[in-house]
Symmetry: C2
Subunit: 325 residues, 2 copies
């Protein structure tokens, strides 16, 4: 199979997982000729599909992999197609997670209706975001019903994921009252649905109390216009015992449906797409300063003059901007 | 007096404070024709003068105004010319400080060898930084020996000021051992000379102990290549009783002299100028997206297409970048 944009588009639209994987690899490449081909591919696939984009975050140890495995298998069991994309800045640094996402979700990764893709190994978070956004478009064109964008519950990756999804699920561990305080307000405010996992065995009662505590905390937050009555919502699940998963999915669908009917869904997607476009233009403009050899040489030359005190920085910048047209 | 760049340059080089004030007003203007004239002025004045650029920070209540007044008057008394530029993001928000810098430093503001300029009232910190950097160049051309860039001890303004000065002085209040912990490590590491003010009256002993505590803390920091033995240094001063000010000035000069001899001084200035130039180019490129009416219209049009899902963001960004040349 050749990897032209046309071939890949055809394969992806037919739901071929290998074509999808190759398409994402093409998109993740930094080579200029690959990039040109990737743009052609994106152009052919724009606006295809009707997947729900859901962000999923949770600190390590909360049982995220087990949850995705159980949740994903439940949905594929209903005939739905589920894609899982990971956004992990730490794996971006090390150039790929050590265990690998397919090992973490062994059964789901072998399911023909599932597609799991580890975090792209880009040097910086912005690069990871860009590639993940484009991978979402490809998964949608491949006909997936749900695209889960998974991230670790630390740092800036939540904000980044929240900017590319329709709704955000936060997975929590059962915890005592004191630990509740530790949840950052910003992350609480980002979550649309809060799932307390491990509601099984010895932890079941603690999990139930935790849900009640979070529900109380969520009621203290000001109601957001994009939420129907009762949202954000806290619920208990057990990924291990596969309990509460259907109810969680029902709530996700109910929220998405309400937002669709009220117009918030389409508005949010439109805004996200516009912001992404604008950010790409800004990033592309700045990238030229670093990559175009002619521009680099001129920047270096003027920079030398400035460093030697022969030209004022603002004056040199003005002539550089003139050169750039 | 007309305000052409030539007239202003002539006045500034002759040390005329009114011309200097007008030049800074010109530089602070956002009008396109003013900006063109400001660039001509900066071009004429580039590389003039030999001032020492010193950053001064300290939290409110530490006696910063009194210190600048006493310190400045001591230097003008020795025949030196002292300029004080303020960088205050809060005054930038409110459009100018309420009391006014000249009221804060009454005697110094009337001194013919001093020049005091409040923080430019720009909408954002980046704008304040840019204007302050250019005001420094003008003050240097006007023959000032010392340019003090004063900032409040909160937020990002210290980092910003540290990037435009030769050395950084941190003014502290006498404090008990516990309060020492409150000084942010980042700010401590930024300081070249740490002055504990109010070493007078009842607070004198506390101030002396505080100096000893800080000196101990500074010894724990790893020695930086740009520091001679004994720096960063902690000292006691009393702006009220004008005690320790000459010694503080001697230490500032000794540090600057050592850095000049070792080459760190020129290297730092060259790097600062180059970074500033590069930042101006980046900012100028991005500004076009917001200000050029033709580019704005094209961005809005492509943004609409993207928002409606008719074009992939990356594809629209690529065509926008093509349009931009």
């Amino acid at each position: 199979m050749r990897n032209t944009a046309e071939d890949l588009a055809q394969g992806i639209l037919a739901g071929d997982r290998r074509a999808l994987a190759r398409g994402i690899t093409l998109i993740e490449s930094n080579r200029a000729d690959h990039r040109a081909e990737a743009l052609r591919l994106l152009d052919m696939l724009a606006g295809q599909g009707a997947a729900l984009r859901v962000g999923l975050s949770g600190t390590p140890g909360v049982g995220k992999s087990t949850f995705i495995e159980s949740f994903g298998l439940m949905l594929t069991g209903q005939g739905k197609k589920v894609a899982v994309l990971a956004v992990d800045p730490s794996s971006a640094r090390s150039g790929g997670s050590i265990l690998g996402d397919k090992t973490r979700m062994e059964q789901l990764s072998r399911d023909p209706n599932a597609f799991i893709r580890p975090s792209p190994s880009q040097a910086h978070l912005g690069g990871v975001a860009r590639r993940t956004r484009e991978a979402i478009l490809l998964c949608e064109a491949a006909g997936f019903d749900l695209i889960l964008i998974e991230t670790v519950g630390v740092g800036q990756s939540e904000t980044l994921v929240a900017d590319m999804v329709d709704l955000f699920v936060l997975l929590m561990a059962p915890a005592g009252g004191d630990e509740l305080q530790g949840v950052k307000r910003g992350i609480m405010e980002m979550a649309d649905i809060l799932l307390v996992n491990k509601a099984d065995g010895d932890l079941k009662m603690t999990a139930m109390r935790t849900v009640a505590d979070y529900a109380g905390a969520l009621r203290l937050l000001r109601k957001r216009p994009q939420d129907p009555e009762g949202f954000p919502k806290a619920m208990a699940v057990s990924a291990l015992e596969e309990a509460g998963l259907e109810k969680a999915w029902d709530e996700i669908c109910a929220l998405a449906q309400w937002r669709k009917e009220e117009g918030f869904f389409a508005t949010r997607r439109a805004e996200q797409a516009r912001h992404w476009f604008e950010a790409e233009v800004r990033e592309g403009l700045l990238a030229r300063l670093r990559t175009d050899p002619e521009i680099r040489a001129k920047m270096a030359g003027l920079g030398d003059q400035v460093a030697q005190g022969r030209t004022a920085p603002a004056v040199a910048a003005a002539s550089m901007l003139n050169l750039l047209g």
